[in-house]
Symmetry: C2
């Protein structure tokens, strides 16, 4: 039996460099990288979360090119990966979709480069939740990370990836890769 | 004592989709992602390998923007990461640099999405080599992966990352993240 694992890539609300609440722009490479990771680690669906109309359109155009358009004929592995991506306007909408699919709400685990003492969950416990067949949604923040509103909506916050000498500035793509490999690999 | 670990991102010779030998174009995001990974996992230097003049110039322009230019003032974490990146024209030149720094040649470990029976090295043995303070250079291929010429120049080839259902089409950025976390994390 597979895991019941979901991922969300959040573009709003996130922080900018000055710790202000913003909506970040979509990096199309992120969509590809997360979809390919999802396919590798048996993640059921990836949600690209943005409330901005033009950004949703951009994301959908990328998906359509690689699923229905020329991209799909050019590279079927990419098509196969991108088919598991959905564009949604909010975290709430993503959670609603998961509830529809699974018939129960997911355990929402937020990821953050900073340690969140409250409600933190260890790598071992997160892995255990996933492999005991709980429905789990891993939330990743773009820009300077998930806004505290998202952190508060989550049930738990994953312990950060410890960098040598305290360096903890990975891209969301590579952080997601490491986290998926540790939890679902 | 830290590890004596190096990384190379090879743009030539690599394969294209039709298994032809090509020089791939630089993806500037790769330089950032690999530099940030290097900083996180204590990698001593990242070599961007390309024989193409204009591509070397592009890579150096990115580095210069983030190290000496505005980027360095805007984001010091990025500056700190990109300072460990060098642009070289060949694998041989990269290996020469490592020899100069360390006073001995590295164990060259190539990474490949396909299993290479000959000279393959397990994750455990590769981790052991790194942590027993051997000089190790991990080689990553862009496009459709390292050309067999590079595979032949390497001392060993790392066992591939096993994807669920045989899917093994990660981006080089996310594959490098997973490999570094497993070997040097």
């Amino acid at each position: 039996m597979g895991v019941r694992l979901y991922m969300g890539l959040v573009h709003f609300p996130v922080y900018n460099k000055n710790h202000e609440k913003i909506a970040s722009a979509i990096t199309t490479l992120d969509i590809h990288d997360l979809a390919r990771l999802a396919k590798t680690y048996d993640v059921k669906r990836v949600f690209i979360v943005t409330p901005l109309d033009d950004q949703q359109k951009l994301a959908r155009r990328v998906l359509s090119h690689w699923i229905q358009g020329y991209g799909g004929r050019y590279n079927r592995h990419r098509k196969e990966a991108l088919e598991c991506v959905s564009v949604v306007e909010s975290l709430k909408q993503a959670m609603g979709r998961i509830q529809e699919i699974e018939g129960e709400p997911p355990l929402i685990i937020a990821t953050d480069a900073a340690n969140q003492e409250e409600r933190s969950i260890s790598w071992i416990d997160a892995r255990q939740a996933i492999w005991s067949n709980q429905v789990v949604a891993l939330m990743f923040g773009t820009a300077w990370g998930l806004h505290e509103e998202v952190i508060k909506e989550a049930n738990r916050v994953l312990t950060p990836i410890p960098g040598k000498g305290g360096y903890n500035h990975l891209s969301v793509r590579t952080a997601a890769a490491i986290i998926l490999d540790r939890l679902a690999g």
